[in-house]
């Protein structure tokens, strides 16, 4: 299946494949854990049944997504050793302790309290259950913090020396943890996780509004998601811009690839909107560009000179086409999210938020946009830092395990088959759960719990009142 590929290419495919699958689940579960904590807190505060019903609905979805995140994550923690053992030996003294802290401070926290959050409300009472829910949400954020510190150190390594066997030796832990790109990357990723979740929740709300625009739970989640979108998307665009400027400072070659700047521009670089990268000729074919705008964005000066890839030795150049495209996909989706947020806000101000089927259709279509944007963003930053694992210091080709291509090919094949099967089925179950009306799920839960049934009478009355109002 993979004849003719080197062990290095195969190991890179394998890492890209497994990490791409993995990131989908945390991107969703980080946001969803926080959303569940908010829903549960609102339920405890207001005792409004709608929040409880929504909590139970999304809790089950969270459990499935979380399980997929756990099992795909455990693979990552061993893959450093199996396929990238030289990197592990060399960089382990710096990034290993950070990852150990992720396990100790975040994974255990999430796992330890997840059971109570999912199954324990009756056993521990509302207050401790709320605490457990909050702790799970906090754990997901803490986990993101550590792993992004690791990734950022690999992008912008500081605070180390190199010893006589070639290992990175930590000298200043503060500098390592809070390395130059870390704050930007962390903010950008956490906001991305929140946006991804808001888009999914919004799409599910929209789907059920399209079927029944008077359902209170659908209205509530759609409204919450659209608020989230209009607040977070502008912040994300700002954070992304700052992250880009940080990248320009520390990894200029990556920005050159993102911008498609093969050539240097001594007096103002154009912003290339679209075009086809042509790596052989080292130019962008059919480029549609706005003169000097790139310099304005990156240097805040129309005539500022910008260096191009012609200043980078060929062997240090990242693959331009992939980075160029993935960056544009991310940006386009970001602005689409902003558009959706603005549209929803205007409909809300006109009092039509729940009566705008085209808005609902658009929100439904945008449901997966967060995942695609997250993947595109990670492809941009990871492919853009090639050919290095530790930027500027350790090459990807020097990081590989002493493994033979057939061994990697066999395991890669196994991962592809198993992942598509297992996570394909899981995604199908998730979609099926999201397709179920909230009411149906809630009725099942109420049937089990008994006494809450009495509250159902007023719910029905309210529902008809809403319908009459219209």
């Amino acid at each position: 299946m993979f004849d003719g590929f080197t062990a290095e290419m195969l190991a890179r495919f394998q890492f890209a494949f497994t990490v791409s699958f993995h990131i989908i689940f945390p991107a969703f579960s980080i946001g969803l854990a926080s959303y569940l904590a908010v829903l549960n807190a609102l339920w405890l505060r207001t005792r409004n049944e709608t929040y409880k019903v929504l909590f139970e609905y999304w809790k089950k979805i969270f459990a499935v997504a979380f399980a997929m995140g756990v099992v795909s994550g455990i693979v990552m923690s061993y893959q450093f050793g199996t396929n990238w053992s030289v990197f592990s030996d060399k960089a382990g003294p710096v990034i290993g302790p950070l990852m150990a802290y992720e396990v100790l401070s975040a994974f255990f926290l999430e796992a330890g309290f997840l059971g109570i959050m999912l199954f324990g409300r009756e056993r521990v009472g509302d207050k401790l259950h709320m605490l457990a829910t909050g702790v799970v949400a906090f754990g997901t954020l803490l986990s993101a913090t550590w792993i992004l510190s690791v990734n950022s150190w690999m992008q912008t390594p500081v605070g180390y020396a190199i010893n006589d066997v070639g290992q990175f030796v930590p000298e200043d832990w503060w500098a390592i943890v809070f390395n130059p790109s870390f704050p930007y990357r962390l903010v950008h990723m956490v906001l991305a996780a929140y946006l991804t979740t808001a888009l999914v929740v919004g799409a599910v709300g929209a789907l059920h509004l399209l079927r029944d625009r008077y359902d209170m739970a659908s209205r509530k989640m759609f409204s919450m998601a659209m608020w989230m979108l209009i607040v977070v998307t502008p912040l994300q665009i700002l954070a992304g811009d700052m992250h880009g400027l940080n990248t320009l400072e520390h990894q200029p070659a990556k920005v050159m690839a993102m911008e498609g700047h093969y050539d240097s521009h001594p007096d103002g670089a154009p912003l290339i909107l679209f075009g086809i990268p042509n790596p052989e000729e080292k130019r962008i074919d059919y480029a549609i560009e706005i003169p000097k705008l790139s310099s304005l964005i990156l240097k805040h000066d129309l005539n500022a000179p910008l260096a191009g890839l012609d200043t980078i030795p060929d062997e240090d150049e990242p693959p331009v086409a992939i980075v160029f495209w993935s960056f544009r996909v991310m940006i386009a989706l970001g602005f689409a999210m902003l558009g959706l947020g603005i549209w929803a806000l205007t409909q809300r101000m006109r009092g039509r938020l729940y009566h705008a089927p085209w808005l609902h259709r658009a929100a439904l279509a945008m449901g997966p946009a967060g995942f695609v944007a997250v993947l595109a963003g990670w492809i941009t930053t990871e492919v853009g830092r090639q050919p290095f694992t530790v930027y500027g210091v350790m090459r990807t080709s020097d990081s590989l395990s002493p493994i033979a291509a057939p061994a990697v090919a066999a395991s890669l094949t196994a991962f592809i088959i198993v992942y598509f099967f297992v996570f394909g089925a899981g995604t199908y179950y998730l979609l099926r759960m999201m397709n179920k009306p909230v009411k149906e799920v809630a009725d099942n839960a109420m049937h089990k719990e008994g006494p809450i049934r009495t509250a159902g009478v007023t719910q029905v009355a309210q529902y008809h009142a809403r319908k009459k109002e219209d």
């Binding site: 053992s85 003294p93 150990a100 802290y101 061994a407």
Partner: protein, 335 residues
């Protein structure tokens, strides 16, 4: 000198987390291994529900074992992982199937038998591979120039297979004694009846491995039969005999907590026996704990948090078990 002590503290911490993993996830995997021995849906669902709230935390100790090794013994990590490439990858894939089964089996009627098979197959594969990996490690790993120097199939030997079988049967015993503790009525009796053959199988395998190990390597032999470690190796078999006696006695008396603790004791004793054989190596026969350790700066930095966080983890893990204490209620669970 300080560095020397630090690396030994860390070796102890890593060994501790692997041991906790075996103690906690051993019975989880054992339940998966026992899964096909019943076709009854009610039995299967209470078996799984007895660990649903805790399995994820249990598995996290494995991540700590791997992640901790990466952090403080990066050289050992970078040698062991390529050396055990195939069993590790298969274990990971097994854990994927085992882990998702906890959620998936409740989400579908049509494919439920398939995810049940996945739960069984995944647990079995993970257990076998863990045993095989252990056996391959005990056997010794060839190292040259800070890297694995052996072949792709070096891990596959009669001894490693025996270890794989031993761990699998042992986990099944842990699973059966756990279910004897957590369940009631007909299904409890069924599980108690399964505890007998798995316990007998475990004892036989333990005996075979113990007799074989000293002859793998002269160092192991001298460690077990030379003074002063011989004193220790004289005590371990006595304790093992006591645990075996307690296990069978408890099963006969239809006790619940006793057999489970004795079964766990067998694992703890085997584990400490392996520790005696290994010391002072981390990857036998040539890589020592001191050689494999990361620089002191790394060891210190990681240690500060570990001494605070691990006790906290133990406390809230114990709390989670306490919350879900007692017999499993067949009506409970969110499914």
């Amino acid at each position: 000198m300080v560095g020397l002590e630090l690396s030994f503290i860390w070796a102890g911490i890593i060994a501790f987390s692997v041991l906790v993993y075996v103690i906690l996830d051993g019975f989880d995997l054992g339940i998966g291994i026992l899964f096909p021995l019943t076709n009854d849906e009610e039995e299967r669902s209470v078996m799984m529900n007895s660990i649903s709230p805790v399995w994820d935390g249990n598995e996290t100790w494995l991540v700590l074992g791997g992640g901790g090794l990466f952090a403080v013994f990066p050289l050992a990590y970078s040698i062991v992982m390529p050396a055990l490439y195939m069993p590790i990858i298969l274990m990971l894939l097994g854990l994927v199937f085992r882990g998702v089964a906890f959620e998936y089996r409740w989400r579908t009627e049509r494919w439920k038998p398939l995810w049940d098979m996945g739960f069984f197959g995944g647990s079995l594969t993970a257990a076998l591979c863990q045993g095989i990996a252990l056996g391959a490690l005990v056997q010794g790993i060839e190292v040259e120039n800070r890297a694995y120097a052996g072949g792709w199939w070096d891990w596959l030997t009669p001894f490693s297979i025996l270890c794989g079988v031993a761990v699998t049967i042992g986990y099944a015993m842990l699973g059966a004694t756990w279910l004897n503790l957590k369940l009631e009525g007909r299904i409890q009796r069924h599980m108690r009846s399964l505890a007998w053959p798995t316990a007998i199988g475990t004892v036989i395998c333990m005996g075979l491995v113990s007799v074989w190990t000293p002859f793998l390597d002269a160092i192991y032999f001298s460690r077990w039969f030379a003074w002063p470690t011989a004193a220790f190796s004289a005590i371990v078999p006595l304790l093992v005999l006591a645990a075996i006696a307690g296990l069978f006695f408890g099963l006969r008396r239809e006790q619940e907590i006793g057999p489970f603790l004795c079964a766990q004791a067998l694992f703890v004793l085997s584990f400490s026996g392996i520790g005696v054989s290994f010391y002072p190596h981390i990857v036998p026969p040539s890589l020592t704990i001191v050689e494999a350790a990361a620089p002191d700066e790394s060891l210190w930095f990681a240690l500060v948090g570990t001494v605070v966080l691990v006790p906290m983890i133990l406390i809230y893990t114990a709390y989670a078990y306490w919350v879900f204490r007692g017999k499993v209620n067949p009506e409970e669970g969110y499914h």
